[in-house]
Symmetry: C2
Subunit: 142 residues, 2 copies
């Protein structure tokens, strides 16, 4: 019972850190073995993108310090910026209260979005319309 585990550590003393492997084993990956990841620019605090990791992508991210997702379309690891140079260097990684989401704070080089925009959330709702916002410069990464 993953939820029970995370309830049991809600008020765990800050002074007694928990082994990482114990927490990793309890994370709530979905039926495809994936967990949603929010990536935030550590300097501007802008939310850059949302993507997915499996357990191995998560471990690679932690071990290398380079944010590595799991590409659902390509069914492969996706080392962010590998082809574009727009890498994400990991600054902080956190899990949420019920262990079903990851927050990565990163130092972002260049654009996080494949459209060349700094972030992916450029489709802004304005009353009954959506405005396509954001400055961009087209990049090659897919």
């Amino acid at each position: 019972m993953q939820h029970t585990y995370f309830q049991s550590i809600e008020y765990h003393p800050k002074e007694q850190p928990i082994p990482l492997d114990e927490v990793l084993a309890q994370l709530a990956f979905n039926q495809d073995g994936l967990i949603p990841v929010i990536t935030q620019d550590t300097e501007t605090k802008q939310v850059l993108m949302m993507a997915w990791m499996n357990i191995d992508a998560l471990k690679r991210t932690l071990n290398t310090g380079r944010v590595t997702y799991w590409s659902r379309s390509r069914q492969n690891f996706w080392v962010k910026g590998e082809t574009s140079g727009h890498v994400q260097l990991l600054v902080n990684l956190s899990f949420d209260c019920d262990g079903d989401a990851v927050l990565c704070e990163v130092h972002q080089t260049g654009a996080a979005c494949h459209t060349g925009r700094r972030h992916c959330f450029y489709l802004k709702v304005e009353e009954d319309h959506v405005r396509v916002t954001g400055e961009y410069q087209k990049v090659e990464e897919v």
Copy 2:
């Protein structure tokens, strides 16, 4: 082909907003009819939580200005703060480049997390341990 639709509007002119209903009809809800939602504090820029909406929760959020998720555990609408008073007033709502994630910028009253913490991402990885961080005051909301 939802992805094709979002590709087609990547460089749509900012001066020509797109009808909201057209975009809503193309969003990439998962097999359970849900889309992940990132909620960010508009003042502090802190990422408060990640939860899910179905199309009706999304429309309610837009129509009422009160962030309303879909509770997967209760299988019902979850008007944030309805029982705790810790409401989220919507300031901005955006979709990402492939229409499979929502970003809500909100004015947050009190704690976003059910543990009484300001945000949910309090389990912080430090090398091979996880530290349980964050100031809290226990609240009633479930």
